[in-house]
Subunit: 99 residues, 4 copies
């Protein structure tokens, strides 16, 4: 099962600057070979369900290992069985209605 | 790794009444033996990370099998390594400050 | 326009224990006279759109005033124009399918 | 109070293709003069709290007017009082740790 996800990992109790933790999660996604795209409030991810979920778990493990005792994550998960759709397809579909 | 989660599964394209799909997800969580609590905009879940994630995947599979071609899910995931905390502990902690 | 909302306010950089801030938000909702119900990963709220949104803004103002320099909030917003539905209606609708 | 937001509007019961509704929301944000950036699972928005919230309400009104009887929206809201930060600043901050 393929999934389009949106991941926002928030380490708590480590100060107000958390970009180093987000950067570590970007590395996890890259190492996993997953298509991903960083935006200003999370990261779009495209891939096989199990591979994406393994990467999300790895993000929590790495961010805890960096010293964050508590993490709260928001994850959106989109699946569809009618047709295949990529991250770019979703954006293109909206943009085509704006022209 | 233990996780406190909040799951909100939204089947798309099956009409405005989706309670039968949410009820199916409740059954999945019960069958998995996970502590869970339904509220008006999702379900709190407490358990081992892998068991919770397996249940979330099963929810998508079941809801697709019921006829929903597309699903979008919001999932919150809270982990902490400083101490153990249950669903009820979280609620009690807030309520104790309201007395 | 009536809304059913789910609010989860996360103060950042104030340590891993945030229940005092969540409790303050509960007080804001109570003062606003909004029907609300605390769960383990947020608070369900029912009310007029503008009243709910004014309360959410007030939560941010109060939590900043308590010393949190940064806040990230997850808010779900459900509106429907086909029929009226309360927080309890939503829960009852799912539970009726579980009997 | 300035806010960085992430908006994902999901019309329910109108089929599995919802890009026309998302496109309408993009128009609302553009008409409101708000800085915004579409990604594959929502739209980043930057602006004054009240202006952003007025636009979100307008999105619900427009999508209902287009024929969607039910809408469920996920909204993230980030505020900080320690310093000013733009959508691009957030992305740049993470990317600088990846070089």
């Amino acid at each position: 099962m393929k999934v389009i996800a949106d991941l926002c990992v928030i380490p708590m109790g480590v100060g107000v600057s958390v970009s180093q933790y987000v950067a570590e999660c970007e590395k996890v996604l890259a190492e996993a070979g997953l298509t991903h795209h960083l935006h200003a409030y999370g990261t779009n991810i495209e891939g096989d369900w199990d591979a994406v979920m393994a990467a999300v778990k790895c993000c929590h493990e790495r961010v805890h290992a960096m010293g964050a005792d508590r993490i709260t994550t928001s994850l959106k998960l989109g699946t569809r069985i009618d047709r295949d759709q990529s991250l770019q397809d979703k954006i293109d579909s909206v943009r085509s209605k704006l022209d």
